[in-house]
Symmetry: D3
Subunit: 141 residues, 6 copies
Amino acid sequence: MLAEHPAERPNQDRKEPTYLFSEKQVMEKSEIARRFLDTRTRLNNNVDKANNFLVKRFYNIDHNAYLEGALPGKTKELLGLVASACLRCDDCIFYHAIHAYRLGATRAEQEESLNVALVVGGSIVVPHLRRAYELLEELYA
Amino acid sequence: MLAEHPAERPNQDRKEPTYLFSEKQVMEKSEIARRFLDTRTRLNNNVDKANNFLVKRFYNIDHNAYLEGALPGKTKELLGLVASACLRCDDCIFYHAIHAYRLGATRAEQEESLNVALVVGGSIVVPHLRRAYELLEELYA
Amino acid sequence: MLAEHPAERPNQDRKEPTYLFSEKQVMEKSEIARRFLDTRTRLNNNVDKANNFLVKRFYNIDHNAYLEGALPGKTKELLGLVASACLRCDDCIFYHAIHAYRLGATRAEQEESLNVALVVGGSIVVPHLRRAYELLEELYA
Amino acid sequence: MLAEHPAERPNQDRKEPTYLFSEKQVMEKSEIARRFLDTRTRLNNNVDKANNFLVKRFYNIDHNAYLEGALPGKTKELLGLVASACLRCDDCIFYHAIHAYRLGATRAEQEESLNVALVVGGSIVVPHLRRAYELLEELYA
Amino acid sequence: MLAEHPAERPNQDRKEPTYLFSEKQVMEKSEIARRFLDTRTRLNNNVDKANNFLVKRFYNIDHNAYLEGALPGKTKELLGLVASACLRCDDCIFYHAIHAYRLGATRAEQEESLNVALVVGGSIVVPHLRRAYELLEELYA
Amino acid sequence: MLAEHPAERPNQDRKEPTYLFSEKQVMEKSEIARRFLDTRTRLNNNVDKANNFLVKRFYNIDHNAYLEGALPGKTKELLGLVASACLRCDDCIFYHAIHAYRLGATRAEQEESLNVALVVGGSIVVPHLRRAYELLEELYA
């Protein structure tokens, strides 16, 4: 028998953020973003096909964590960006930098977020910072 | 609006494992286990009271990851033990070592699991190994 | 000879944030915060006494990373909170949760930030989440 | 003078596991596995040539950690898989997923093991999970 | 059957370093060192009693990694200190700081080593740095 | 207003180390080094162009951490190598191995340093060790 979570607070406070730019627009602007998103889609198809219950549950929670709530969607993507940079995952950094861009984050906001990750995470973050700046250069050209 | 996960495979393959020992029995046997579980309960009450939607979802997934399935519950707890030791979290190590014990894992099985964590994770795991052995000493006395 | 950094953009865009609550008020409200800040002060005195050039430089950069800029101070503290929770450092979590509180972050904003850390960092973050909630309980009582 | 370890328990309880599939069979089945194993062999030749005492000792311990003992070889490879996924090393994930396959682990067992790593390690594990699924897709085709 | 490592280079180049101070002297000088070493000994007794083959092998390799060789023992302890501080393990930091002290490292050498760890590892290292400075304060009083 | 650090110890004890080999010589000797340094330069140009205040400050501290002081420059690069290997960053490993080589570190000194990282960091370091040995093979040919 599967454990069930009890009744929850009404979720009126969680909603999809409004994107200023589509994924397609991002891919037209940045070659790095295009390659990243293409590979991600191809590999995710594989995961989807496997139809693993727990993976899907996890993806669902992951999606929910970035919905608009007490904090705006843009801020949450910047939180995701910092988490990704601290834990040093290029794919995750690209993902959240693209989403933050699509939600209207300025380049300065992205850089300041990455700076928190740099100071908290140290010089080991620098190679990832360099690759992130390459993406930012294309996105904000 | 909250994103929903699509239809899932019937969960007949997930069920609660059968514990050989209750949490109470563990607490009577080991003072370390008792202190750990008491603190954990006290702090979790706090989290429960906050009634945060996403935290509850996460706890639910976490619970599901260790249910009986293709792998027996005991093996999954040993997987959790190795993950916890590699990532160096005493609380998590204690939690999974206790659950593995309750599901009938022998001391040798626990030690071999910890050895995988030691070799993969290196000497930085050793201080946690020492504290884990202190718990094992009490559990398997 | 010491390497020097070249001329920089005028730093008019960096300024100290305005705190709604003093450190003293926080310490009166929360016993956990008081103990944490007392220990931190005592140990930092030791570090200050050593007067190490590079440590001081690092502390200075660290201070600068959280100043008001393109992003408000409160948001930066929440970024610091997520970074700290992902990298699983209780001291750092306490520090940024307290600063975020002093800058007016609501409990819901703190919880949503911690949720990003939880989803990105996984269940290994949970023991730290529990201790963070204990602090939040006192701060937002 | 080199420090020596004292007398040890007779090692009757450690023996090589029996593989159901050879490395060659794996390489014929999966292009990803072939590329990974080829690169690994080429780079290991380099390390072998250096003939470093401590590296060889470490490799020997590493080998011993996965021998049959209180736990079967297959389970130990799944423990190694979880450790590798938690610590986010693609090479290590590929290595243990291949070995688990060669020892008869089913795809479901591999997925459930990866799920423990996903829940313990968080979404930062997802990019590695995607690449692992790509390998599983080829191995279990 | 247990895998054996092949013939090795003669180990003439590995020898025990010569300590300037005994562990006892350190414990008389520093209360922090005394508490740490006492707890470590107590917990290690537990591990020794278990007589686990692989743990003993690992302890042996660990011992060998810090023997005099191409690099002096003191330098190796400082390497161990940096590794420990980067990976944020107080026990390991204390252990290597004490050994470096016993091998004649000056306080400035310890601080410069910790600075490398601070810059590489970031502000998340700071709480460990503070506790390390507390120990250094006692050792070099 | 920007926070300023107070007066510091005179920095007479920090000076640029004397390199035995230029970066150009390294690039002629090793194709791996050449590719790494070319990419690094290209990406750093991007970062430089952004002219971010805090990134420049961080780069400056980073530079200072490896200057000659109580410890020689070569030793500090080996400390950086161990930190990089423990935290598992190929770019950082390459960077410090190249600098250590340029400052006269022998291959045996590099291997012994990597061994400390291997033992502290565990088998998860091995894939990085293999790639480091490939570079060492070219540098010390």
